[in-house]
């Protein structure tokens, strides 16, 4: 039975909403397959507005891979803004995909990619608009399997009640494997219904099905244990790691939106994983080990991406792009290739060293030298040791001096506030650093026309990191320190005007902290917030701290207990049954060393220090150099 497009019903609503173009699809390189040509159908969701969701690489890659798979189709869906939500409710228009405008409920799987926890309320809106019961337990045979992925899925417990399944890690291979399990099950006539399908997925150990695990609690509220409630379901669920990125050169056909989005560029992931060992960084911990894409594949992907998309900017993505073993050759090769073509290259990179400036110089060869970004993260030497960000003040001053003297006029510095063991003076140290940076710039250039912007993010302890046991700083403390820092910067006659200051208040971090390290009991808070109208919590104009606190109180959830409380070594953490490969003892030891000031090197250049990932996951570090070069493109 073909599934009808709901577009004609949506169309009547579009003249009444903001930016209607985001709902119509039709992007260059988008795919619409015949419904009956496939027996496995995925709706892929990024639970934020289209302008944020469309550029997301994870969704784009899976969309392509699944659509390439015979007998499988994938379409995309995004969170609709409240203005359209209201009209859709009034007119009974269901959550739809933007590709063929099919109702989301008609698909076999609704795969949702969570980069952050702040998309949880948007998941509930989408389910509700789709006509899919919010609670997994209430869903029937006609409802899709609601499957979470992305970084937040490494602790999906707060949304466990709303999910049928979750996958950890790289999605390329597991999404194909899931498609095959579904195809086989449907081919047999869907024996045993939904339950059996979920069992088949769970048995493999590659898919986490929350309902097959029971959580028991101690009287004091801590978790006693998390155990499978069925035979054949594994005790722990493991993450997925794609080896040899050269074999997965996606996106090959980048989606080019008509609507304006947050990133207007073609992005190539130049490596996955990061082993620098920054203790606050969940992404670095859960994506180990490092797997590089080779210089030749990068070159080919850039060439193809520009041709297929017409974008005039290319971004080389990764967690720390300057660390690619052949980044110098990549930068030079690409800059040579695209010299004089109005194609600009960008390298989001935050390493504090002169080499990074060489790269930036290469990329801005025929453009302007506007801003360079560095991330010392901690304001004092002591603080940077705690987080294992091994940057000295000397390094930083030397680096910015070089940058200013080579024509850069603006330097951006990223820091965090609320880090474990942080004292007021650690944060005030940021002001001293910024002033020294300006001073160094003025000396190097003999000009007062230089600027430095200080950006501060609130630290949130994340699962699967050495700081997973840490107590989060309360928002009063964070706000007090930020105010002191601001006063110190603004009050300075000599430097104040040269230094820009960007920060957020501490409240959103507390909610993020609750959702990051929460367990299944936090689900009631998310639901209550959503019922009270909570939407788009990642947007400051929609976020309401008071709403979250009121909902927590109503649900009997003690927010401090989840956020500011430090955990003991032997406390069962809500995500302990989910395996990112990191050895728990190594993590604990690293947490102890953080407090005592011990450092960890990068295992890319130094011997393995047994974080546990490679032996557990059967993976290995994959890096160059390959010794190859990028040759000039032959002009046709």
């Amino acid at each position: 039975m073909p599934v009808e497009s709901i577009f004609h019903r949506l169309e009547a609503l579009l003249p009444k909403v903001q930016k209607p173009i985001q709902y119509v699809g039709g992007e260059l390189n988008s795919t619409v397959k015949d419904w009956d040509s496939a027996d496995v159908r995925w709706a892929l969701m990024y639970p934020d507005a289209y302008e944020v969701g469309l550029p997301n690489q994870g969704v784009a890659i899976l969309y392509e891979i699944l659509n390439e798979l015979p007998g499988t189709l994938a379409e995309r869906t995004y969170a609709v803004w409240p203005d359209l939500e209201e009209l859709m409710r009034a007119e009974g228009v269901p959550q739809f995909t933007v590709d063929a405008h099919r109702p989301v409920r008609a698909f076999d799987v609704l795969g949702v990619s969570f980069s952050t926890e702040l998309g949880y309320t948007n998941l509930l809106t989408a389910l509700d608009l789709a006509g899919i019961p919010l609670l997994a337990a209430d869903r029937g045979e006609d409802d899709p399997i609601v499957l979470a992925g992305g970084h937040a899925a490494f602790n999906p417990e707060p949304i466990a009640d709303f999910l049928d399944a979750a996958v950890l890690g790289d999605g390329e291979q597991i999404s194909i494997a899931i498609s095959e399990v579904i195809r086989e099950w449907k081919g047999e006539g869907s024996p045993g219904g939904r339950d059996e399908l979920l069992m088949r997925l769970a048995e493999s150990g590659g898919v986490y099905v929350p309902r097959f695990y029971d959580v028991e609690y101690h009287p004091d509220g801590r978790i006693k244990r998390v155990a499978p409630n069925r035979a054949d379901v594994p005790w722990r669920v493991h993450k997925h790691t794609v080896m040899d990125l050269d074999e997965w050169p996606y996106p090959k056909k980048p989606l080019v939106p008509l609507a304006e989005t947050v990133h207007e560029r073609f992005s190539v992931e130049i490596f996955r994983g990061c082993t620098r060992g920054c203790r606050f960084c969940q992404a670095g911990m859960i994506t180990r080990p490092v797997r590089e894409r080779s210089i030749t594949t990068i070159g080919a992907m850039v060439e193809n991406g520009i041709k297929e998309s017409g974008f005039n900017e290319v971004g080389l993505l990764s967690l720390s792009s300057a660390d690619h073993s052949e980044i110098g050759e990549v930068a030079k090769g690409l800059a040579d290739r695209y010299e004089g073509t109005n194609t600009s290259l960008s390298l989001p990179s935050t390493r504090v060293d002169a080499f990074n400036i060489d790269l930036a110089n290469e990329f801005s060869r025929n453009g302007r030298r506007s801003g360079l970004t560095f991330a010392p993260e901690g304001g004092s030497e002591r603080m940077r040791k705690v987080i294992n960000k091994m940057v000295t003040e000397e390094d930083l001053i030397r680096t910015v001096t070089t940058a200013y003297s080579q024509g850069w006029r603006q330097v951006k510095l990223y820091f965090m506030c609320g880090l474990p063991t942080e004292q007021d003076e650690d944060v005030l140290g940021i002001a001293d650093l910024a002033k020294k940076v300006i001073q160094a710039g003025r000396e190097a250039t003999g000009s007062r026309d230089i600027r430095c912007t200080v950006s501060i993010g609130g630290f949130v302890p994340k699962p699967h990191t050495p700081f997973q046991w840490a107590g989060q700083a309360d928002h009063e403390t964070v706000d007090r320190r930020l105010k002191q820092l601001r006063d110190s910067l603004r009050g300075d006659k000599n430097y104040g005007r040269a230094i820009g200051f960007r920060y957020h208040d501490g409240k959103p971090s507390i909610v993020e902290g609750l959702l990051s390290r929460g367990d299944r009991r936090v689900g009631a808070v998310i639901r209550a917030v959503w019922e009270d109208g909570g939407r788009f919590d990642g947007w400051s104009e929609h976020f309401s701290y008071e709403r979250w606190m009121a909902a927590a109180e109503k649900a009997g959830v003690d927010v401090d207990w989840y956020t500011t409380r430090e955990r003991e070594e032997n406390e069962v953490l809500p995500w302990d049954h989910l395996d990112a490969g990191l050895d728990r003892e190594w993590l604990w030891q690293d947490w102890q060393e953080a407090v005592s000031g011990g450092e960890v090197e990068d295992c890319r250049w130094t011997p393995c220090y047994d974080c546990g990932v490679c032996p557990t996951m059967g993976t290995e570090i994959q890096i160059g150099p390959t010794g190859r070069k990028l040759l000039p493109l032959t002009v046709v």
Binding site: F7, H8, E11, A12, L14, P15, K16, K19, P20, I21, Y23, V24, G25, G26, E27, L28, V256, L258, A259, E260, E264, I306, K307, E308, S309, G310, F311, N312, N342, R368
Partner: protein, 250 residues
């Protein structure tokens, strides 16, 4: 160049279209000229774009190129590089004189699903009988009052045969055709609809579907809309060179 904005792509804004065109130009490998300066921009100029939500069969733009191009080839490669729904219809090498100046009037089709045909006819008659019809529209600078009557050169309830294939729907549908002179402030089809409501209390039940069918100079002798690109076709056919230093396809 003349292009169409069709179907669901009528929801593109002017900014969306200009981004799409810039990318398509690059994908198509058209040797577009860039402005000099701090951040170079491709030389593409747009003449009076239809508003967001309004479809069009007659939008115009000009592209500055660095080397002469074959118009037929530009038409084909650019059309292939644009998403379907933004369709390139006609490309000529630009001759003398500005394109924007030739776009004096627009021919609009306004489809009103579910509206009553007789009421529409009465309203049109009353509207045309008026000398001026003051309407108010909310602009970025607040509400603004202006006359919507004088710019309207022609207004009639048209026959069903005028439907555009891409928008065929099952329901009966009243179609208005209006020829409106471009002036400042611009009088748009929805201003004329506001006028119909004011003079005859005529209000269609659902939002109208508006399509610009043609734009161009008014032929003084026939009173009909002429093709604005004809002038370029004439000059280039005569073998005259384009403006020195920069060739323009569009």
């Amino acid at each position: 160049m003349r292009y169409a904005k069709r179907g669901r792509l009528r929801f593109t804004s002017h900014r969306d279209i200009s981004r799409a065109v810039e990318r398509a130009v690059r994908r198509a490998g058209i040797p577009v000229a860039y402005s000099a300066g701090f951040s170079p921009h491709p030389k593409i100029s747009y003449a009076g774009a239809a508003p967001t939500g309004v479809a069009s069969e007659a939008e115009y733009l000009e592209i500055g190129v660095t080397t002469p191009c074959d118009p037929a080839q530009v038409r084909q490669s650019l059309d292939e590089s644009l998403p379907s729904g933004l369709d390139v219809l006609d490309v000529v090498e630009a001759g003398q004189g500005g394109l924007a100046d030739r776009l004096e009037v627009s021919d609009w089709e306004v489809r009103l699903p579910g509206a009553d045909r007789e009421l529409a006819e009465v309203a049109v008659e009353k509207f045309l009988a008026e000398g001026t019809v003051e309407v108010e529209r909310l602009t970025k600078k607040g509400p603004r009052r202006f006359d919507a009557r004088q710019a309207v050169l022609g207004l009639r309830v048209s026959e069903g045969a005028d439907r555009i294939a891409a928008q065929v729907q099952g329901e009966p549908c009243v179609i208005l055709r209006m020829v409106v002179r471009h002036m400042t402030p611009a009088v748009r089809p929805d201003d004329v609809l506001t006028g119909l409501r004011l003079v005859a209390d005529f209000a269609p039940p659902v939002p109208p579907e508006v399509t610009r069918l043609a734009q161009g100079p008014l032929d003084a002798s026939t009173g009909a809309l002429a093709d604005p690109l004809d002038l370029d076709r004439d000059t280039t056919r005569g073998g005259e060179a384009g403006p020195a230093g920069e060739h323009v396809a569009g």
